[in-house]
């Protein structure tokens, strides 16, 4: 391309980017989430999802109550041993790409329920992308976790789909 021809190209009408970066950008702002709500953290989830804090501002406004149509699994609350197979089934039914957020101390580590009935953190059952601590977490913390997840999605590697996400 000659020097003068390049000057004649219309400026501001196209951008150059990597395909992976574009894909990440598109995905991080269109998170369909599936709330797996089992306990009191659900109240904070509602607060974060509704108008006052409004996770829709970050593109995560569309709640899907079918795991097959969602990208982000929000595990909100205590997961018992009895419930563990259900949660794993829900995770396995989600289509790729999918991300998991452990919402609240119980989902992160079992919290105060260190007993015979409760799974000590959902990362013992399914892989987790972002942990949001708090009992329950403030909506600001939830938004922070969401932004962290968006950052993670943006910088996902090109071949992430072929990686085995389950050990």
């Amino acid at each position: 391309m000659s020097e003068d021809k390049r000057k004649r190209l219309p400026a501001g009408q196209f951008i150059t980017t990597q395909f992976n970066s574009l894909l990440g950008w598109a995905r991080k702002f269109s998170l369909f989430h599936y709330p797996f709500v089992t306990a009191c953290c659900g109240m904070e989830y509602m607060s974060a999802a509704c108008a006052h804090y409004d996770i829709d501002r970050f593109g995560a406004g569309w709640t899907r109550f079918s795991p097959r149509q969602s990208d982000m699994l929000l595990v909100v609350g205590t997961i018992t041993q009895k419930e563990a197979p259900v949660l794993r089934t829900v995770y396995e039914q989600m289509t790729e790409p999918k991300w998991v957020v452990a919402f609240g101390t119980c989902a992160v580590s079992g919290g105060i329920y260190d007993n015979y009935a409760v799974v000590q953190g959902i990362d013992q059952i399914i892989p987790v992308d972002v942990y949001i601590p708090g009992c329950p977490p403030r909506p600001e913390t939830v938004l922070d976790g969401l932004l962290k997840l968006q950052e993670k999605i943006q910088h996902q590697e090109p071949d992430w789909r072929w990686k085995k996400r389950r050990s």
Partner: protein
């Protein structure tokens, strides 16, 4: 009702079965009975004139180290008299059986299933004595004092 307290009235009705009263920090009526008399005593209390129509709660206590080891606790409430009553009875570990109250109160069904689930008490005459909270295949009774603190029985394989 000529006798003043519920304990006296129960003593008059069931002289052989009432073992005494217990102290309660809030001054509620607590009566200790023999476990064989549970059903007739409860039927008497539910009927008029006592009219303890409501079974508030039913639970068990593991008093490990004492003999007999287990204690069943029944909480009754009389709506007409606005009075509460606690009935206690002891069960030895070798013979963890007691009559079911499902014939008197329907809500005893799930309460007894809970006690069966967590303490292993068998309720005779219960229509459907299955575990309530824990899953099939769970071994042992988790609220007993000798259930190991760190024992976990996961349903699916956990990553550690």
């Amino acid at each position: 009702m000529e006798e003043k307290t519920i304990l006296e009235r129960l003593r008059r009705e069931f002289p052989a079965e009432v073992e005494g009263a217990a102290a309660s920090p809030l001054g509620e009526d607590v009566v200790i009975i023999g476990k064989g008399a549970l059903l007739p005593v409860m039927a008497y209390l539910k009927a008029k004139p006592e009219d303890y129509a409501m079974l508030l709660d039913l639970t068990c206590v593991d008093l490990r180290g004492e003999e007999p080891r287990f204690e069943m606790v029944y909480h009754l409430f009389s709506l007409t008299h606005n009075r509460r009553l606690r009935i206690k009875t002891r069960l030895p570990e070798e013979e963890l059986r007691i009559a079911s109250l499902t014939s008197l109160w329907k809500n005893a069904n799930w309460l007894e299933r809970e006690v069966y689930d967590l303490f292993g008490v068998h309720f005779e005459g219960h229509p459907d004595l299955r575990r309530l909270f824990m899953y099939d295949g769970f071994e042992g009774y988790p609220l007993r004092k000798d259930y190991p603190l760190r024992r976990r029985q996961p349903l699916i394989r956990l990553k550690d």
